[in-house]
């Protein structure tokens, strides 16, 4: 047990260190090397936090979906732990995106919040997955909570494209995509140095995400183990 745990712990440590360096480099690149935006000036640098964090959150919700589906299918505790962990971290990153966006919005748009499609969608995502976490915490019986949450994890995720479409059709005001534009490669309209900063910082966020996820997953596993241990001892 302890022997098997050691290399895992070590590789998690490496992951953490990597995440930290990548974020540090990304921040340095974004805050110092990359040029300020032509129109927005220095505040635009928030983008290096804003964009990677929402992309990571999307990934996280996808993992919630996968974990939920697997849990319903196989009934393995670890899938549930995965879904739960991913949901928690996803909520965290979504909140981070909104906070960073709001801070960005204040100087550029002059408001903390506006009812544009993408903002609204992000807020709805936050609400859905907060609902997911609340649902879990409000059901006493653990296995019942797990299945209920899994159902919500699946339905919620399948609903997102529909929500996305409808909210999008409803109104749009947010920046038109400048990086992920459909018919133009990104390097043609963005300063390459900005793009590098963004890429590094995105890599950093991904590494950070997996670091946090593995920690949170480990926490869930340990909870199970402690329970099993205490059960063994018959306390």
């Amino acid at each position: 047990m302890a022997q098997a745990a050691k290399p895992i712990r070590k590789s998690r440590g490496v992951l953490g260190a990597l995440a930290l360096t990548a974020i540090a480099i990304g921040l340095y690149w974004g805050l110092v090397i990359a040029p300020p935006d032509a129109y927005q000036g220095e505040v635009q640098r928030i983008m290096y936090l804003h964009l990677p964090s929402i992309l990571t959150a999307y990934l996280s919700y996808f993992l919630v979906f996968v974990g939920s589906g697997m849990y319903l299918w196989k009934r393995e505790k670890r899938d549930d732990i995965l879904a739960h962990s991913a949901a928690e971290i996803g909520v965290l990153f979504t909140a981070l995106t909104i906070i960073a966006g709001s801070i960005w919005g204040r100087p550029t748009w002059g408001v903390w919040w506006t009812w544009d499609a993408r903002l609204t969608l992000t807020a709805i995502l936050l609400l859905i997955y907060t609902g997911y976490l609340m649902l879990r915490s409000l059901i006493e019986d653990e296995s019942r909570a797990a299945s209920a949450a899994a159902v919500l994890g699946i339905i919620g995720f399948l609903d997102i494209p529909l929500i996305h479409m409808s909210v999008y059709w409803w109104r749009t005001l947010h920046q038109p995509p400048s990086i992920l534009q459909p018919n133009k490669p990104p390097w043609e309209n963005v300063h390459p140095s900005m793009l590098t900063a963004l890429a590094i910082s995105f890599a950093g966020f991904l590494l950070l995400y997996f670091y946090l996820l593995s920690l949170r997953y480990r926490l869930g596993e340990m909870r199970e183990k402690i329970k099993a241990r205490r059960l063994e001892r018959g306390v």
């Binding site: 296995s143 329970k227 205490r230 059960l231 018959g234 306390v235």
Partner: protein, 235 residues
């Protein structure tokens, strides 16, 4: 009809309600499930009924286990828990009819009325279950399981609310059920009654099956186990 339980355990949080139960039961057995308060009797019955899932181990009924979709299995098991599992706002006979169709048991209206008469509820046929006394609800449950004819019938402390004639009625039903090849498992604290009736006795103590024998006359091993695991009184 064959019930086999292997290494069955159930934990609630940090508490083992049941631990490593092995058990084999066969057609015609009328099993008394004894044990002090909190021994795990209700938990065991709920597991047999498939209402809760085991933490470890398995329950097999004629080789099949409970799983979502195992509907044929469900038809074979009945749980009589006095005063529960009846629709309060349907009348006595509506309840019977509803459950009979749910289990696809066709009964002529006359058979239905006759069953109600036999449990002394004939005149209350069109009363709401909500307006019955506790003993009457138990009698109705007896009638219900008489009609539904499960192979394995589980009972959780049915004596408490029944009067003398109700007890006779119940015992007659249980004897007939076993004679017809069914299995009965009845949890009860009314040791003297139960001992007369049963063909087999189990004693649970702190989640472990400490006694498991067919009835003999006299039965010194039971007396020893009884005085060890069910201390004091107990008529």
């Amino acid at each position: 009809m064959r019930l086999s339980i292997d290494k069955l355990s159930k934990a609630y949080g940090f508490l083992w309600a049941l631990r490593d139960i092995h058990l084999e039961l066969q057609s015609g057995q009328l099993v008394a499930l004894l044990g002090p308060n909190g021994a795990g009797k209700t938990t065991l019955l709920k597991l047999f009924a498939g209402l809760i899932l085991p933490t470890a181990g398995s329950i097999q009924l004629d080789g099949a286990t409970f799983a979502p979709g195992a509907l044929d299995l469900r038809r074979k098991v009945g749980l009589l828990s006095p005063a529960d599992h009846l629709y309060e706002n349907l009348t006595v006979s509506e309840n019977l009819r509803f459950f009979a169709s749910l289990y696809r048991r066709r009964h002529s209206p006359a058979a239905l009325v006759q069953t109600l008469e036999s449990v002394n509820l004939g005149p209350r046929r069109d009363d709401y279950v909500a307006n019955l006394s506790s003993g009457m609800k138990c009698r109705l449950s007896i009638a219900k399981w008489q009609l539904l004819q499960p192979e394995l019938l589980l009972l959780d402390e049915p004596y408490g609310v029944l009067d003398g004639s109700g007890v006779d009625l119940l015992e007659g039903f249980l004897r007939a059920h076993c004679a017809g090849g069914g299995v009965v498992i009845m949890a009860s604290h009314h040791v003297s009654r139960v001992l007369q009736l049963c063909s087999h006795a189990l004693i649970l103590h702190q989640g472990r099956l400490t006694f498991n024998e067919a009835k003999q006359q006299p039965w010194p091993s039971f007396d020893r186990a009884f005085s060890e695991f069910l201390p004091h009184g107990g008529s």
